[in-house]
């Protein structure tokens, strides 16, 4: 079989898509999570229910939305509800299987920062803020996070916990009365991290092809643990790549269309 070329971002998106199951109800962040969730829908999970916080439920966009509220999401949804209803009846109600998030910073307990770099009141970089993530992170049954692997992104301790992951070594989410399980996996362009069941620390649990453990450790801001018998991520197959590339091609064409 001929070797198939693909990019690290493609591997990341495909690896993430594979973690979703058919008929799951998935609350989807914009950007990388949206790409992975729609790839899952267009491949092995045709009946996955995709929900975007803008109010669109059961949406089936044929191109990836640029924003969380693009018209295509409303046009192809089973229904569109108001934003308050979305957070009350659909997220908080506990109906979401998977909350699928991006992040600016993640720490070794899977806590997410999208608020500030530096001090909250004197930030060196002001990030966009929370959006829906704090409640997606606590109300969904499980959380997936997709993020490119750099030392700036993977830090020992986030500067600000915008959306809680697994807290720290001493406090359990349940003690805070949080219903969901929290991060099940962090999918990056280098591999997949999962929380160690005992320590809750994220450890390298799958390595993407042609990536070395050392490379992942260098891109991680804490001494990264590695699971025993580290598996290698299955490389993208031809079908996954074709569907993803078609989707990306359609999307970039559509987003470049000028508006009168």
């Amino acid at each position: 079989m001929a070797k198939i070329d693909y990019t690290a971002d493609e591997m990341m998106t495909i690896a993430a898509a594979r973690l979703l199951r058919d008929r799951q109800v998935c609350f989807v962040g914009i950007g990388l999570p949206s790409a992975a969730a729609n790839l899952a829908r267009l491949t092995h999970a045709p009946n996955i229910v995709l929900i975007y916080e803008s109010g669109t439920i059961g949406t089936r966009p044929d191109v990836l939305p640029l924003s969380i509220g693009d018209g295509i999401l409303a046009d192809t949804a089973d229904t569109v509800v108001s934003v308050p209803e979305m957070f009350h009846y659909w997220l908080q109600s506990g109906r979401i299987d998977i909350g699928f998030l991006g992040a600016a910073q993640v720490d070794k307990y899977g806590n997410i920062n999208t608020t500030v770099i530096g001090d909250y009141h004197q930030p060196s970089v002001r990030l966009p803020g929370a959006g829906g993530a704090p409640e997606i992170a606590t109300s969904s049954r499980d959380i997936l996070i997709i993020i490119r692997h750099t030392p700036r992104a993977f830090v020992e301790k986030v500067d600000f916990i915008t959306s809680v992951g697994l807290l720290d070594a001493t406090t359990d989410r349940r003690a805070l009365g949080i219903p969901g399980n929290g991060p099940a996996a962090i999918i990056t362009d280098l591999g997949i991290l999962k929380p160690d069941p005992k320590t809750r620390e994220l450890v390298l649990s799958s390595l993407h092809p042609e990536v070395t453990i050392d490379q992942v450790k260098k891109a991680t801001g804490w001494p990264l643990g590695v699971v025993a018998d580290l598996p290698m991520t299955e490389p993208p197959n031809a079908d996954e790549l074709r569907v993803l590339r078609d989707l990306n091609h359609r999307s970039s064409q559509s987003n470049q269309k000028a508006v009168a």
């Binding site: 914009i30 950007g31 916080e53 803008s54 109010g55 669109t56 939305p65 640029l66 924003s67 969380i68 509220g69 693009d70 018209g71 999401l73 409303a74 569109v80 108001s82 934003v83 308050p84 979305m86 957070f87 009350h88 997220l91 908080q92 806590n111 608020t115 909250y120 009141h121 930030p123 060196s124 970089v125 002001r126 966009p128 803020g129 929370a130 959006g131 829906g132 993530a133 704090p134 409640e135 992170a137 606590t138 109300s139 600000f160 916990i161 915008t162 959306s163 809680v164 807290l167 989410r173 805070l176 009365g177 949080i178 219903p179 987003n255 470049q256 269309k257 000028a258 508006v259 009168a260």
Partner: protein
């Protein structure tokens, strides 16, 4: 009853310096034309309230109109940063900007409380997040039945709400559809409200259970076709994603931003002229 009036007149009469102002629109139906008119009329000391402040708040902040922002996600949707917002927070330019920061769930609840005439709302939220430590308008309370601890957010009651919608009828009743965000809540929570619309029609032709704002809860209705550009109006025109991408470069430097605003906003009389000046550019 809503008065059918020009946007210039509505902004002049209904928005005062120092007001708290909720210009809502969740990516869709963003009241861009109204934002420009506020800049043109040099309104100042505003508290800007919005779940998803984007380009129009970046413009108001960069032009020095705002003293505070209340928000839950402040970025250029699908593109990245709002540089004028960041410059105000990180460097105090052109003036310091106070912030009150929420999650979407928290802020949506705060609007619902406002629209419902309640002083606060309860949600299963903010647990584990650092936001309650930096926002005194988030607290935790105990359920009187189960003892469970839940988040409480103080109501948002803006002085003025400004939204854009697809249609109004001649009595001033307004219909919007598609992604409707928190527009209804913002209008109902506010003391005064301005609604810009794509068109004014004889009959709304609203489907059953549509999102309708009756005339008697609105202060002014203004016909501003295209008034949500570069955002979109479902059924009328699409989102100009290229403009959002272009904003990255326009807004990155103070000088570039001010020059663009001078030319296209301050230097034009209304939104139609703004649109023509963009096409020429």
């Amino acid at each position: 009853m809503a008065e059918l009036t020009s946007l210039k007149q509505a902004v002049s009469e209904l928005i005062r310096d120092g007001d708290s102002l909720a210009m809502e629109g969740f990516t869709h139906l963003i009241p861009s034309a109204a934002g420009h008119e506020i800049v043109r009329q040099h309104k100042t000391d505003l508290t800007l309230i919005r779940m998803t402040p984007d380009l129009i708040y970046d413009q108001l902040i960069g032009m020095g109109c705002a003293r505070k922002m209340v928000f839950s996600w402040g970025g250029n949707p699908g593109v990245g940063s709002l540089y004028r917002f960041r410059d105000a927070i990180e460097n105090g330019w052109p003036r310091a900007l106070e912030i009150e920061e929420h999650s979407h769930a928290g802020m949506a609840n705060a609007y619902v409380a406002g629209a419902s005439n309640l002083p606060f709302a309860v949600l299963r939220g903010y647990r584990g997040s650092g936001l309650p430590q930096v926002n005194p308008r988030i607290k935790f309370i105990d359920c009187p039945f189960t003892g469970e601890k839940l988040a409480a957010v103080a109501a948002i009651r803006p002085d003025v709400a400004v939204v854009h919608a697809q249609k109004a009828d001649r009595r001033g009743n307004v219909l919007l559809w598609g992604i409707v965000g928190v527009q209804k809540e913002a209008v109902l929570a506010a003391k005064r409200s301005i609604v810009t619309v794509e068109e004014i029609v004889d009959d709304l032709g609203a489907p059953p259970n549509a999102v309708v704002l009756p005339s008697w809860v609105i202060s002014a209705v203004c016909a501003v076709p295209g008034g949500a550009y570069p955002s979109y109006a479902h059924g009328y025109y699409g989102r100009d994603n290229n403009f959002y991408k272009a904003w990255e470069a326009i807004s990155r430097t103070r000088d570039g931003f001010r020059a663009w605003m001078d030319r296209h906003v301050i230097g034009t009389g209304d939104f139609a002229e703004f649109r023509r000046s963009l096409i020429k550019a």
